[in-house]
Assembly symmetry: C2
Homo-oligomer: 340 residues x 2
DNA sequence: CTGAAAGCGCTAACAC
DNA sequence: GTGTTAGCGCTTTCAG
């Protein structure tokens, strides 16, 4: 592979001049420039970005560290990030922590060692400390999805509470009376906020809060199935359920299908997270859509802002959700609430 | 940020010794080693991988270039790659070409400039040439999903033809008589192979091939919808359909729902690609499952093999599919084929 | 406007 | 077993 010296020699100029041509900095006499370009062409020269980065003390890489396992969320967010990345010449390296703090820490170590230009992370460990090494190096960090208490970092979140409240209020308005909530580990801000939204809606409607109707489980499909089946075994089972993420919603739907519970008449359901298949299950599923793609874009945007102005205070934004009403929450005629 | 020299000074040793300790190469007297480690600790030293890579002329990055847009396929494959990557200390940078050859080329340029350690790519342009720059630099390349004619590169494909044949044969065996096929642009090897499998099954069963029953469209949801609706408008519409990818399957299902065509009695359907929601649509969808995760793992594995033995001939493997039979292709009683 | 030269931080011969 | 030293390929002052 030819180096900048080979090009310089062939074009009978100094490497500095070649560098100027390649990077379009400083002024170079047109005839020299074209001589250089010819040499580059002739040798098929390609600048070595590793060397450039070492010299410039910069990097053209962002790290995207994901804890979530949902394929759609993940894909949409990373697309958002990559899109902005492409505009500003950044590559995106992807890391999946599977929600394991160990893995998360390892990936952060790697990001530090690589001196990456920025990190977007949905934290697995919701305690601040993990990000320290990054911050020490002044590497811009933006958290997404989940909040971090201590953060001196940017964050772009979703209005989970508001979204959950809307969903629950909608179920109420549709005539359901005993509404359950399946959510995740309350140590996760998303799970806690979505539960809070659920409670908020009940309160606002003057419906008493019944802890028996709330299940916290892991954010997986199996958890959703289990939680739903427990709810059905209650003495006074619910007549509707708000499920706080899409994987648990899959599980819950499956459980309802297995038990032969008919939606939306015997049981109304609203799930968090929009998916291509939401329209296709029958009845079509009402969902709380997150602006996933935007999430990625905004986070990436913050990274570039922060790189421009490292001094400024970190930005924190919260993006709105959208309730998409379909059939699973809109009974033709409300069945009377079951009494035992 | 402290450098290796700072550590050396503090530990009163030479930078070479620090390097030896950090990389665990060569022998270092234990007492020195611990002095070095203390200094590392004290200064919170973190090796600069950029400098190391420049010196060693290596890189710890793989590039994964994707043309496909399907979130599940994409996620599963990249997980497979990342998993192996983590085992061997490689980071994975992700690129999405949206099937645009321009973007693909740009990403390849970047991979070259970064001197990455390997590239996994599902080619957007199915002509070989694009990979030249990579091969010139002896960067190991493995193609996935799609085949490249000219390839001096490794490849891991899926037995598309066989999978499609099984799917079609299954529809035949279930009693369907007029089976249609919705596939993608035939310039894509996957689309062509899946069509070939369909034809193969018909032939094997002695069923005449009717071009009117074959639709080629883009691999998207809208294309599937359109194709399905055209098929329904035929003088003699099909009584079953094999759809060559998941996005088009979504579209086709939607169309069938809109038209009130009942599955599986009026219309049987089998889709390529397995998804979490396949069980949940009703009736549950019969699919041809690709070993997506394996695809990624095997491709990554090839990258490491190839790095070990750059001389050897490129490996080419083809992974089997699995037919997952559900309700959408298994009518209770076969309705008599419609006559016009 | 161009060239010489000094590093960026690290590793690997090569001496000792 | 350890230290010295010369680069990896590039950019960027600083002179000219």
């Amino acid at each position: 592979m030819p180096t900048i010296y080979d090009v310089a020699k062939l074009a009978s100029v100094s490497p500095a001049t070649v560098s100027r041509v390649v990077n379009q900095r400083g002024n170079v006499r047109p005839d020299m420039a074209s001589r250089v370009n010819e040499a580059i062409e002739a040798l098929d020269y390609r600048p070595n970005v590793v060397a450039r980065n070492l010299r410039r003390q910069t990097s053209a890489v962002w790290t995207l560290i994901f804890s979530d396992i949902d394929a759609f969320h993940f894909t949409a967010v990373s697309r958002g990030v990559m899109e902005i990345g492409q505009d500003v010449g950044k590559s995106v390296v992807l890391c999946n922590t599977d929600d394991e703090p160990d893995k998360e820490q390892r990936y952060i170590e790697v990001a530090v060692a690589d001196r990456v230009a920025g990190v977007v992370i949905s934290p697995a460990s919701e305690s601040g400390g993990v990000l320290e090494p990054l911050l020490e190096l002044d590497i811009p960090v933006v958290t997404i999805d989940r909040d971090l208490p201590s953060s001196a970092v940017g964050s772009v979140l979703v209005e989970n509470e508001c979204g959950a409240e809307q969903a629950t209020a909608h179920l109420l308005a549709s005539g359901y009376g005993r509404i359950a909530c399946i959510t995740g580990d309350l140590a996760l801000s998303t799970a806690a906020q979505r539960l809070a939204g659920y409670r908020g809606a009940l309160e606002a409607a003057g419906v008493p809060y019944d802890p028996a109707l709330v299940r916290t489980t892991d954010y997986r499909e199996a958890g959703g199935y289990r939680a739903m089946s427990q709810l059905l075994e209650l003495d006074r089972p619910p007549d509707a359920v708000f499920v706080a993420n899409s994987q648990m919603t899959l599980g819950a739907l499956e459980c309802l299908a297995d038990r032969g519970v008919s939606i939306p008449d015997e049981m109304g359901i609203v799930g968090f997270d929009e998916h291509p298949w939401a329209r296709l299950v029958s009845p079509a599923l009402t969902t709380v859509a997150q602006p996933t793609y935007e999430l990625g874009r905004v986070a990436a945007q913050m990274l570039v802002e922060r790189a421009k102005d490292p001094g400024g205070p970190p930005t924190r934004v919260s993006l709105p959700t959208e309730l998409i009403v379909r059939e699973s929450s809109t009974p033709r005629r409300r069945a009377p609430a079951r009494q035992r």
